[in-house]
């Protein structure tokens, strides 16, 4: 009963409900939105890459930082993936995955080191590396393009094929999500991320290793963006120098919609993941309910603003409740 009560009250439930409503409305309008093999597959497949970015972003935002470079990191690793298949014929697929994750992690490490050691706000650093990484990408790629024919069939299959109707991409994303959710909820290092985000100075006084934890958060975000880059290559088959442009704000948007407070200390990766699902599902649902898809970004904007207004209202209500409880006792 208590579990059920918590579930009803959780911030994530509201956003999940919104997602279900979108799916139901779209399905009533056009049953093939859900009840065709393609529709069901796309429903799960489309948000998977953004989900990975949103999870990484949530981890960073919880520590009261932000990582704007994820789109550029994704672009770099997506191109690296293609290059590896071209330059190293017969390279095993797991090695490519590992290379992408490690490379993304290293790029995240650069962000984290600059933020944690130089004590410069993450917004500034990652805005800088957003440009720098994208510039390196453009310099490296030039007008070159990776095509589907450059990559092995088995690898491309990961991006499109399914296991028991569930796309591989989604399975990978869900595994990462569960692992991140478990880490943040039960592990000491995970809980410390929340403590740092709530009050960095207090966390420092309390003796938490703030520098190290923040560094780890950025490495995780980079590694997840790296993984997302490898999967991007598998999913779309073509990679040019513009892969992942403007994804960073979508990732932040997904996290914010999912109830991750922009000033840290609260929110879950589950919320961010549902936020990512909601963002991209709405995009697909709008044309079906008769709204031209040009308007989708406006809807996303309303959604983000609605979510933060809602969070504000909920926070005020809770604060009032806490004051009442204090006065009563």
């Amino acid at each position: 009963m208590r579990v059920l009560g918590n579930f009803v009250k959780a911030r994530e439930t509201g956003i999940l409900l919104a997602l279900l409503i979108v799916i139901v409305v779209a399905t009533v309008k056009n049953p093939s939105f859900l009840f065709s093999s393609d529709g069901f597959r796309d429903l799960l497949l489309t948000p998977s890459i953004l989900l990975l970015l949103a999870v990484g972003q949530a981890i960073v935002i919880i520590t009261r930082n932000v990582d704007l470079s994820v789109g550029s990191v994704l672009g770099l690793t997506a191109y690296l993936t293609g290059r590896l298949f071209i330059d190293v014929p017969g390279i095993p697929i797991p090695v490519v995955f590992l290379a992408g994750i490690v490379f993304g992690g290293l790029l995240g490490l650069v962000n984290g080191a600059l933020v944690a050691f130089a004590k410069v706000p993450a917004l500034v650093i990652t805005l800088g590396t957003l440009y720098a990484y994208r510039g390196i990408n453009v310099l490296w790629t030039g007008s070159d393009r990776i095509n589907a024919s450059d990559m092995p069939k088995d690898f491309l299959g990961l991006g499109t094929s399914s296991l028991l109707y569930i796309p591989w991409l989604t399975i990978i994303a869900i595994i990462v999500l569960v692992a991140a959710g478990w880490f943040l909820r039960t592990q000491r290092a995970g809980r410390e991320l929340y403590a740092i985000g709530s009050d960095p100075a207090a966390a420092n006084l309390y003796g938490l290793k703030v520098t190290q934890r923040v560094l780890v958060a950025f490495v995780l975000s980079g590694a997840l963006a790296g993984l997302a880059g490898v999967l991007y290559a598998a999913r779309y088959g073509t990679v040019n120098s513009q892969a992942g442009v403007n994804l960073e704000l979508q990732a932040v948007g997904a996290a914010v919609i999912g109830g991750v407070a922009i000033f840290g200390g609260s929110g879950t990766v589950w919320g961010a993941a549902i936020g990512a699902f909601l963002l991209l599902t709405i995009n697909r649902a709008l044309p079906i309910v008769g709204v031209q898809d040009f308007w989708q970004r406006a809807v996303v904007g309303v959604l983000i603003i609605g979510a933060i207004v809602l969070d504000r209202v909920l926070a005020r209500r809770q604060a009032r409740k806490l004051v009442e409880m204090r006065d009563e006792s």
Partner: protein, 349 residues
Amino acid sequence: MTTGTTTARTYKDYGQPLWRRILVTREAAVIGALILVIVVASFSVRAFAKPITMTYLFLDIAPILLIALPMTLIIITGEIDLSVASIVGLSSVTLGVLHQGGMPIEVAGAIALVVGLVAGAINGFLITVVGLPSLAVTIGTLALYRGLAVGLLGTKAVTEFTEFWTDLAKSKIPGTAIPSVVILIVVIAIIFAVLLHFTAFGRGIYAIGLSPETARFSGVRVERTKFILFMLSGVVSALAGIYYTLRFGSARGDNATGLELSVIAAVLLGGVSIFGGRGALHGVIAGVLLIGTLASALRLANVTSDVINIITGTLLVASVVITSFLAWLRTKRARPGGKRTETLAAAKS
């Protein structure tokens, strides 16, 4: 924590002689870098020293230069406005759609400015009245305003504009190589400089950035100040949108996508602290010019235009990291026999 060190530094700065206070500043460093780039490029890059370089330089960076002015004031209060480029797009589409509907450009432009004002007011309302963080709000309105712009015009573009106006946007001041738009920028820059540096309103902006509570108790109307700044940001962005549309003779929903990040990068490079309370307009203007000059010098030197991204990013990161490193060095040097140890000793005894 950060505001504490900033105030401490400000007091310390006043203990320095005047020439040091003027020369050893972040703004002076940016201006120095700008002069260095101009001198080096004039000698080493062929055709850089020609007047036409300057013409295109100003035509290209005019929107960034315009929007950087209100952005500076907003960042000094400790807030941020990510929606500016979307307001550029929205005003561009407003102008295009209304003009296509038969409205003269003067009227359509005025309405576009009003649209910008309203867009800024919505930001201001959500941030100051509802009390939401500006970073989150303007990520939302970034999507919303861009969505409205794209929704109104779709993938179409309006390209029929009165030649008089499109020519004016590209015209030069007679007898010089300086584009006429520079006059507009100078006028607006002077207004903003006076507002920020020579009025009580401007001192209030710094006070808010250093500590909103202190500012409130000192009689600064924090909410009203921020509200006005976001409206100013909306209007100036809309103006930049009108210029952008006329200069390229094309109103599109995706005009100036991503410009917000260039503006913010330039403002931060110009020495404005992202924590608020610190920065000056001359530094910001030098910052915008530095990025623009580097870009045009490199383009003339046949370096692919994409390197500019790397340079913008690296400059931004390097500038903040170096500043923070110097501050760290200063505290390290100040510590032995410095005030901190004295107070510690006093506390112990």
